[in-house]
Symmetry: C2
Subunit: 179 residues, 2 copies
């Protein structure tokens, strides 16, 4: 089984090292991890600009059986939009999607909000979801509907601590065998 | 042609009014707009909790021919993760995806970053994409690859000004006719 390893770790100074560590964990659980920046085969010709990176990631996803995403909040209250895009992409293909986050609290508590009748609202007056979820309901809904899990645990080194990732991979391995 | 109207406007105090305004604009351009909170037909039974909202949105997307997304930064540097999820979902289904943002500047300029060799890095040391794009390359890559456009223009009322939305819908209408 091939697992697409989504998350903002592609932006780390040495993303290949983090990707290798994630792949080693996948192997321990009988899975093959595919990291977004892995060179695709065949490699498209031309300059490695954003169009080629995007095309390679879509190709990788189509060749994977499931996705494990790091949904830790990224530069704001919610998950990285690129990672959320990939979660939606794999969900639409009918592949099981799993996630983990190093922000263990509910989404509602991460946004400064005040009560307005039945709803919580941020400073702009926009509603803050209050479903006891860690993330936007579309992400959590897709994970739940696909048979996946979203795991939460704090980690002091949010982008390099892989213990929660390993727990998630282990659950994915069991879940994918059962599917 | 049915257009899924993605964006964080579902969190406005009166989302139905905004949805109605967007749909009226779609009609002017020969398109039918579907707003995420529209009651689906058939309506699933049970309580209107997050699982049902998620299931209804996925059903709406599968019944739409294209997507127009408000990618204005939401509670952070990037687009709403729920909207990014939906962009990925429709892209995986092979549907054309269009976007607009009321933050007209490049993504790189929205994140406090310093130069580190060839890359820009944020306070956590994570790379800040510097491709001259308004958003994460996966979102822009999907829009470009699908034949869509991502339009940028400032608007003082980012969540209720619909002039850029209308320009985007007009371009989508022309593009969908040509496809």
């Amino acid at each position: 089984m091939r697992i697409y390893l989504a998350g903002p770790e592609v932006f780390l100074p040495d993303p290949a090292a983090l990707g290798a560590a994630k792949k080693a964990i996948c192997i321990r659980h009988g899975l093959t991890g595919i990291f977004p920046i892995d060179p695709p085969t065949p490699m498209p010709s031309g300059p490695p600009d954003w169009r080629r990176i995007h095309a390679a990631c879509e190709m990788h996803m189509r060749n994977c059986d499931a996705l494990v995403a790091n949904l830790t909040p990224f530069r704001g209250a919610g998950a990285d939009p690129g990672t959320a895009f990939e979660l939606g992409y794999m969900r639409a293909l009918g592949r099981p999607v799993f996630g983990y986050t190093h922000a263990p609290g509910d989404y509602r508590l991460r946004v400064e909000a005040g009560r307005d009748g039945a709803a919580w609202r941020d400073a702009e007056g926009l509603e803050v979801e209050d479903f006891g979820l860690a993330e936007n309901l579309m992400l959590e809904g897709a994970i739940a509907a696909s048979g996946g899990v979203l795991l939460r645990a704090a980690a002091p080194l949010a982008w390099t601590d892989l213990s929660l990732f390993e727990t998630c991979v282990a659950q994915a391995a069991r879940g994918l065998t059962a599917l």
